[in-house]
Point group: C2
Chain length 103, copies 2
DNA sequence: TTCAATAGTTCACTAGTTCTGAACCATTGA
DNA sequence: TCAATGGTTCAGAACTAGTGAACTATTGAA
């Protein structure tokens, strides 16, 4: 399995963050992760149970590559956290403002 | 020519706004319009002069249909304004926060 | 060790979107 | 009436997203 790519803090772009969050499913994933305040596996954070695994995997990849989440392998599953510190350093209040309006 | 469609204030969605602003060109268009504080024609607000007319037209349509801008026909040209009041009523501070990070 | 179960990824396909040039429409001014 | 200006629409090429099937990696049980 290929190494999971994460952009460094300074490589996180506004366009990347916005386009990652522009998808309602990904917005719900990030919201779930934020509310949990703890690492979550991909399936645990899935916005709806009937979503195809490959689709879910793709959403997590987009969130990861845009710098919104950090993923680590832990045994058989992947643990995900929102990169709050990096995002707040890069774009203060942006994440909180956007997530505040997510249903 | 078809009538220009504008969503009503309550039909402006977060996903629509975010995906409209997720494109760097559209972000620059909105930023220009905000800075101008006055109506601007489509070509005047164009982020780069070499962009195809059809592409520009499409960007303005997306901005219009997502509720970000309001367009009125005035003679031969279209005058555009950012729907600040509607956006601030719907998602307070969102626009200002996002545009603050646009280069 | 072997084998099945679990959690994700990758691949190939289909469906939809974006960018572009060409053709078009509406308004204005000569 | 006719050319110029400012946009829109259309069709095609290039790209992107969603999905099932096949795959990889880890774990736990026999």
């Amino acid at each position: 399995m290929a190494q999971l790519f994460h952009p460094s803090r300074e490589d996180i772009t506004l366009a990347g963050v916005l386009s990652a969050l522009a998808d309602p499913m990904r917005l719900r994933i990030v919201k779930s992760l934020m509310e949990q305040k703890d690492c979550m596996s991909c399936t645990a954070a899935a916005p709806c149970p009937d979503m195809a695994k490959s689709t879910l995997s793709n959403h997590f990849r987009i969130l990861r590559e845009s710098g919104l989440i950090h993923t680590t392998k832990q045994g058989v599953e992947h643990r995900n956290v929102v990169r709050e510190a990096d995002l707040n350093a890069r774009f203060p209040k942006l994440l909180k403002t956007i997530l505040g309006y997510a249903e």
